[in-house]
């Protein structure tokens, strides 16, 4: 045995250990030289961190695949449940809104509700999975050194895979009720990318937060419900009265939902204001969440 490492050994810097240099630190998780120095709270060198993240991406994919398997995603009924659950929810909300408003929104409103609800579900699904990704990592975190950001990353991936089948049942409703599909539909790609960035940012934030406050998960349940009602899903963004407009500006997901709805409901390119505000929120939360998570991740092993 031992033969397998020969080629590795030959590449190793086997000279006498030298004084710490910047180069040493660039190999944080890799197989050559590791130097561990105090940086309990603080950013590790970002370049090598991201490189290492990319090198271990297989792990995030595998973790997500394993998560899905444990949720019976690979069985027919597991898939069916994933689709049925949001579909039933969409129906319930449709009836609810119909009663409350005393006027029928019709199939068109149903299409809006369904599209917006499903994409919103993607965001909250990612957050819900991410919140326990680090604290549920247990032994893996205690015993292996790897970029921890892969844990919430895998959650977003899992949420994305759970989101895809819901788009399949949305398609017939869209074709029946929506505008004639045109090239404007391509706008969905960048808008969805912004949703992913937003979801990742909040996911990293709550995953790290859960380490410090173990009841964050319980608070999150309420926060996400309030968020749902405060977002233009059960109503159109254009219907919001003037006095509540500030809520749409303060809600990170509202401009993205408005952009999404204008594509899906009206077949129009999203307004640049919505796109810019949505992108600003997404990038801001992504950077905040990412930097917070990475600067804290070395401390997780102590806190678990």
């Amino acid at each position: 045995m031992g033969r397998g490492i020969d080629h590795l050994a030959s590449q190793l810097p086997v000279t006498a250990p030298t004084a710490p240099t910047a180069r040493d630190r660039t190999d944080e998780f890799t197989s050559a030289t590791h130097v561990y120095e105090p940086h309990k709270v603080g950013l590790p060198p970002l370049g090598p961190y991201l490189r290492e993240l990319w090198r271990r991406r297989e792990f995030a994919f595998e973790l997500s695949r394993t998560e899905l398997r444990s949720q019976h995603f690979n069985t027919v009924f597991g898939q069916l449940w994933l689709v049925l659950n949001p579909l039933l929810l969409a129906c319930v909300y449709f009836v609810l809104v119909d009663i409350l408003r005393r006027r029928s929104g019709g199939l068109e409103f149903f299409a809006h509700l369904m599209g917006a609800l499903f994409v919103f579900n993607f965001v909250t699904d990612a957050i819900r999975q991410a919140v326990r990704s680090v604290t549920g990592g247990g032994k893996l975190i205690l015993n292996t050194a790897f970029p921890r950001v892969m844990l919430p990353g895998a959650s977003v991936l899992t949420a994305f895979k759970r989101f895809l089948p819901t788009m399949i049942i949305f398609a017939p409703v869209y074709i029946a009720a929506g505008p004639t599909p045109g090239p404007e539909l391509l706008w969905l790609i960048p808008v969805f990318a912004l949703f992913v960035i937003l979801a990742s940012g909040i996911s990293m934030l709550v995953a790290a937060g859960q380490v410090y406050f173990r009841d964050l998960k319980n608070f999150l349940t309420y926060a996400l419900r309030i968020w749902l009602y405060g977002s233009p899903i059960l109503y159109f963004a254009s219907e919001v009265p003037e006095r509540y407009h500030f809520l749409l500006v303060l809600n990170p997901v509202a401009p993205l939902l408005a952009a999404w709805s204008s594509i899906v409901d009206e077949g129009m390119a999203p307004e640049s204001g919505d796109l810019l505000l949505g992108a600003a929120w997404g990038v801001a939360l992504f950077l905040t969440g990412g930097l917070f998570f990475i600067s804290r991740e070395r401390e997780f092993a102590v806190r678990l």
Binding site: M1, G2, G4, I5, L8, A9, L12, P13, V14, T15, A16, P17, P20, D24, E28, F29, T30, S31, A32, T33, H34, V35, Y36, E37, P38, H39, K40, R55, R56, E58, F59, E62, L63, T66, R69, S70, G138, K139, L140, I141, L142, N143, T144, A145, F146, M150, Y212, F213, R214, D215, L216, F219, R298, E299, A301, V302
Partner: protein, 267 residues
């Protein structure tokens, strides 16, 4: 100590490392308790100095034994060398690919099957999928758990759990292997087998950190030994000398100066 010639290629260098934990005495930190405590300054936090100014080196191909009572900081030291815990002061330098076998479990999640755990653990440790495929059979063979690999690990017995962990760590072909209390897993036959594998690895140029309470193993396998006591490095010498001083200290020697067989027993 003169035997530790300076010309050895140093694989692990631990330089004046201290690690301090802050543990809160609350069950788990919660937002609710933080909010209700707000204003009243009654944070119950205890600082634990797990390591205090520890320095040592391990040369290429050497087997370093680590002994010490429970709570002496052995596991903390292993995690620091593995890069899992950051030191509060000092510096750890590690040259080579590290495989860890800490506290029996290479990141095993009991809900997942043995196969899933091996794959996830390997990928997290930085192996590629191809490398893993190559090693998978070797791992299963060594652990002798063929029929259990597709069962969730919660159905495993403690011995089977340890065997799989040991097999994974042994099969990673690490240049540096960190083993914490792992030799005492499995039945007599598996222990014999893992001892043989360890001996083989020790002879094969691997650098090994071995934490064990089985002092006989330490004496048989190690080139050098350190004794940790309450976070301090108390002694660093030949294994026999350290084991002698350690057993003296523990008061587990018989009147005729023969070590108590229970403390030496390991295989």
């Amino acid at each position: 100590m003169s035997s530790l010639s300076a010309s050895d290629r140093v694989r692990i260098r631990v330089d004046d490392v201290s690690v301090t934990y802050r543990t809160s005495l609350e069950r788990a930190p919660t937002l609710r308790s933080t909010l209700t405590r707000l204003g009243r300054r009654e944070r119950v936090i205890k600082e634990i100095q797990a390591l205090r100014g520890v320095s040592f080196e391990v040369g290429h191909g050497k087997v370093m034994g680590i002994v010490g009572a429970n709570g002496a900081g052995k596991s903390t030291l292993m995690r620091t060398v593995a890069g899992i815990l950051p030191p509060n002061t000092g510096r750890v330098e590690v040259h080579g690919r590290v495989s860890t076998l800490l506290s029996l479990g290479v990141g095993f999640n009991k809900q997942l099957t043995g196969r899933e755990n091996v794959v996830l653990g390997g990928l997290a440790a930085g192996l590629t999928r191809a490398e893993l495929l190559e090693k998978y059979d070797e791992i299963v063979d060594f652990a002798e758990l063929e029929e259990f690999m597709d069962m969730p690990m919660r159905t495993y017995s403690a011995g089977m759990y340890g065997r799989l962990a040991f097999a994974v760590a042994m099969t990673m072909h690490p240049e540096i292997l960190i083993i914490d209390e792992a030799l005492s897993v499995g039945d007599a036959r598996f222990r014999r087998k893992s001892f043989e594998r360890m001996r083989q690895l020790c002879q094969e140029d691997h650098t090994i950190l071995l934490v064990s309470h089985a002092l006989g193993t330490i004496e048989k396998l190690c080139d050098e030994c350190i004794w940790m006591h309450k976070g301090l490095l108390r002694m660093w010498d030949e294994p026999t000398a350290v084991v002698e001083a350690y057993t003296d200290f523990l008061g587990v020697r018989d009147a005729d100066k023969e070590p108590d067989p229970v403390t030496m027993e390991d295989l």
